[in-house]
Amino acid sequence: MAKIVLNTIINGENREFLADERDSLLEALRERLGLMGAKEGCNNGNCGACAVIMDGRLVNSCCVMAAEIEGAELNTIEGLADADSLHPLQEAFLENAALQCGICTPGFLMASKALLDENPDPSEEEIRWWLAGNLCRCTGYDKIIRAVQDSAQRINSSS
């Protein structure tokens, strides 16, 4: 069980930490760094509950080895809000009732952020296509799609 030292930037902070060489990124975030926001739903890339943004790209952290993040920049759910306010996606999810049990919510928010970063004005079809890698069992997706649409409007009208 050899340990490895990893250097990365997480939500803007330089982090140096020790991980097990067998750790996935998800395990490293949760068990070594105490960042519990990314969730394990399946541990094989099917559900998206563990989604984070790595060097600007949406990844399922259960499918990335911790060793792969050396030198990388990560954005997780813990960094989505700033000190004084929630991100417009978070506001829109709350106000559109886009979450129930909430276990998939961090993954949906990170996936939605990655979408809006790339495509600020997505159609319903584009949102559904982009979010097809995230499973939600509570909402039937209806209010999630509406929340992402609402959020896109908020971001576009304020910029």
């Binding site: 069980m1 750790d23 394990e40 009732a97 909430g102 276990i103 097809a132 509570c138 909402t139 039937g140």
Partner: protein
């Protein structure tokens, strides 16, 4: 207080759409779920599971695993307490197999180690010797007299009279249940039209995204604390106590935020294992299931075989109805055959009906509750038969339903009269809906319609409320919040106290902190917990009036609590407190004001739903695309309409999964071969359209605010609605669920071979 259609217009908080109290934690990643539990000296556990569906466990040798550095303990069934009770033994055997593995994935041993990877390695070092037996996973095969027997001591128990089911032989049939009204045999003889059809449904898993997880600490003082993902902390506490041969007071269950349950997080799986590992090691132990284990070893709902026979007159009056329902229970008795039977004909009143139900054990995971347990399978069969009867009679399928609708005062399946229900209102709303009356356009498109019925549940609930000095009210509830019940309960307390939603601070309590509260399930939490909130509000109002009377040194009868939460004396303008003013005075006028209420109500209101779906069939691939979906439901009173809509959306999505893509694949040796989210194909965002909802509000007279419960019934109509839509699009009648692309393509190819004209065409009403 009795809720009526009239007084709902006077509500101030009920019917609004505030943000849920747990929302901010859930969008920031701060919400603490069971698998997030961290504490000092924590160990990590893993479970070894049987690779065989049916096998005698001859021996288990853990010596090599125990020798691995970092491994702290290995336990087997031998480390759990002995019991003389057969039913307790069966529960223990499902937690960890004692002498026989009864399904692929059945737990046989567990390891605790200092690191989760070490625990994983240790599993490979445990040597188990099995004697493999022939499995049976199909419900009808399991009922045959020469089927492999799971439990040699099992005999059929009867809740039926005048049946010839043997009760003295080895069998897999645990229960034969019968409900009867009138003379069905005679009524069939007098029927103008008789239709009889057979249906099958697969195993469907609840598919919650959060795997089961429990952390246990067995202290040296004998007290056990459990942090877990639970729909019923109190019933789980009692169950754990029974399995560990302890009293409930030895155990505290602290429910964490729950990542979905849908009925599947009521049974106890991990908690006794984690507790015993903790006892052996004297350290806290965290045990989280893998997704594979969730599919293999936790409750799907029963696979079923159902046969329906209806006898009708030419005018559409159904005078005879018969159902034969066989539900696979999995490895231990206890399928949802009872509600399957009692819901089968729920939306209708038939003068003569006969229902036989069978609970049958199979080499599959023990079935668990799943959203309206039993109702989707039995009602799918009945609704599909009714749709086909409408075709035969050349009647509008909703006309046929309305003609046979049940109503207030008519008996339910058990013979008790229905209270005020919204069956007719829902049926009329479907028939009059623009969707139902719209023109369906395009090629290979079809429309389906179906109803759903569910009893809803009452049961015990308890909560306490404390008025704080700033005028806010802390509300501690015994119900775990899955679908927004912190909000819906706080809203009912706010309404009763005439306060704002923001003044109520709800909190989910542990099992030491509030009175016994039954599971979050049965669509009961907003009903029963809301009733508790109402009674708490009434009691707090009384206590505030009394406190004001004491301060003013007058009789309580002179003090009024107004609709604006002013506590005052009408005849004396000087004597008036706002709620907050009086709250501030509590400490110096007798102390803080609080109340605790527990109830056990049985006046829950039955729920009815009607769904309309338009689909398009890709005849080259067998894929069905949902074009439009409308869900209409009597919700009693919608406390928080957005969360009610959310419940309906979720139920529809799960029902569509059952109808189109979700199923368990077993190979010939009883191995579950699709235990992943990739292969157990739940609907994604791309598979569904927006789901339109129409909330019909017929208040439940058995609740202060008219609440019925809304969560379960929307899962019932999708299967039969899809079945009819496929018939409408293709002309094919398909009698199994799901109608996966594979099934539909095979049926399409077969019909092409049979028909020189190529594709069949729909002959339905649309």
């Amino acid at each position: 207080m009795v809720a009526t259609e009239k007084n709902k217009n006077t509500y101030k908080v009920i019917g609004t759409r505030p943000v849920r109290p747990d929302g901010t934690d859930k969008v920031t990643g701060r919400a603490a779920y069971a698998a997030d539990t961290q504490m000092t000296n924590l160990l990590h556990a893993q479970v070894l599971r049987s690779p065989h569906a049916h096998a005698v466990i001859k021996s288990i040798d853990a010596s090599k695993a125990l020798a691995l550095p970092g491994v702290k303990a290995v336990i087997t069934a031998a480390d759990l307490p002995d019991t003389d009770s057969d039913s307790t033994q069966k529960l223990l055997d499902n937690v960890i197999a004692s002498n026989k593995a009864l399904y692929h994935g059945h737990a046989v041993a567990a390891v605790a180690a200092i690191d989760v990877h070490i625990a994983e390695d240790a599993l490979d070092l445990i040597e188990v010797e099995y004697e493999i037996l022939t499995p049976v996973t199909d419900v009808r095969e399991a009922m045959l007299s020469d089927a492999p027997i799971l439990h040699p001591d099992l005999r059929t128990s009867l809740q039926a009279t005048n049946v010839d089911t043997a009760t003295d032989i080895e069998t897999n049939i645990a229960l034969h249940l019968r409900q009867e009204r009138g003379d069905v045999e005679n009524a069939f003889e007098n029927s103008d039209v008789i239709i009889e059809r057979e249906f099958e449904t697969s195993w469907f898993h609840q598919g919650y995204i959060e795997p089961h997880s429990a952390t246990a600490f067995w202290s040296h003082d004998g007290q056990i604390t459990i942090w877990n993902s639970s729909q019923g902390p109190f019933v789980q506490r009692d169950s754990i106590a029974r399995l560990l041969n302890l009293t409930a007071q030895d155990i505290t269950v602290i429910p964490q935020e729950i990542g979905g349950g849908f009925g599947g997080k009521i049974s106890v799986y991990l908690e006794p294992i984690a507790a015993v590992l903790s006892k052996v090691t004297a350290q806290p132990v965290r045990l989280t299931m893998t997704r594979e284990a969730v599919f293999q070893a936790t409750g799907p709902t029963s696979a079923t075989y159902n046969r329906i026979k209806l006898g009708a007159m030419h005018d559409g009056t159904i005078i005879a109805a018969q159902a034969y329902l066989a539900f696979a229970a999995g490895a231990f008795p206890g399928s949802p055959i009872n509600p399957g039977v009692s819901c089968a004909f729920g939306p209708y009143y038939f003068e003569n009906q006969l229902i036989d139900g069978f609970d049958v054990v199979t080499n599959s995971p023990k079935s668990a509750a799943y959203r309206a347990p039993g109702a989707p399978a039995s009602e799918y069969a009945v609704e599909s038969t009714i749709n086909e009867l409408a075709e035969r009679l050349e009647m509008d399928p909703m006309e046929l339903r309305i003609k046979n609708a049940t109503s207030e005062g008519k008996p339910n399946s058990a013979g008790a009269p229905f209270p005020r229900i919204g069956a007719k209102e829902v049926m009329d709303a479907v028939k009059n809906h623009p969707h139902y009356n719209s023109e369906l356009q395009g090629d290979d498109v079809g429309r389906g319609v179906a109803l759903g019925f569910w009893h809803n549940a009452g049961l015990e609930s308890g909560s306490s409320a404390t008025i704080n000095s700033d005028g806010s009210v802390s509300l501690s509830v015994g119900s775990v919040d899955i679908g927004g019940t912190r909000a819906s309960l706080a809203m009912q307390l706010a309404e009763t106290l005439a306060l704002t939603y923001e003044q109520i601070k709800p909190h989910v309590a542990d099992t030491d902190s509030v009175p016994f509260t039954h599971v979050t399930g049965g669509s009961r939490t907003t009903f029963a917990g809301g009733w508790v909130a109402y009674e708490l509000g009434v009691e707090l109002r009384e206590k505030m009036r009394q406190r004001a009377a004491d301060i003013w040194d007058i009789d309580i009868e002179e003090v009024e609590y107004t609709d604006d939460a002013i506590i005052k004396v009408n005849s004396d303008e000087e004597k008036a407190f706002t709620f907050s003013e009086l709250a501030k005075k509590m400490a110096t006028t007798g102390g803080q004001i609080s109340a605790t209420v527990s109830i056990n109500k049985t006046s829950q209101g039955p729920a009815y739903a009607g769904h309309i779906v338009d689909i398009e069939v890709d005849k080259d691939t067998g894929k069905v695309t949902i074009l439009r979906y409308t869900a209409i439901q009597d919700v009693g009173t919608a406390i928080h309409p957005s969360y009610v809509e959310g419940q309906i959306h979720g139920g529809v999505a799960q029902g569509l999964g059952m109808a189109l893509t979700e199923e368990y694949y077993y190979d010939d040796d009883g191995h579950l071969v699709n235990s992943s989210f990739l292969d157990y194909r739940m609907p994604t965002a791309l598979d569904l359209p927006m789901i339109d909802t129409e909330l019909v509000e017929v208040p439940n007279p058995g609740h202060p605010y008219g609440v019925r419960g809304v969560g379960e019934v929307p899962i019932v109509p999708p299967m039969p609605a899809i079945q009819q839509a496929i018939t409408d699009a293709t002309g094919l009648h398909i009698y199994q669920m799901p109608v996966s692309p594979r099934v539909l393509l095979e049926e399409l190819l077969e019909s092409e071979n049979l028909s020189s004209n190529g594709h069949g065409t729909g002959e339905g009403r649309f």
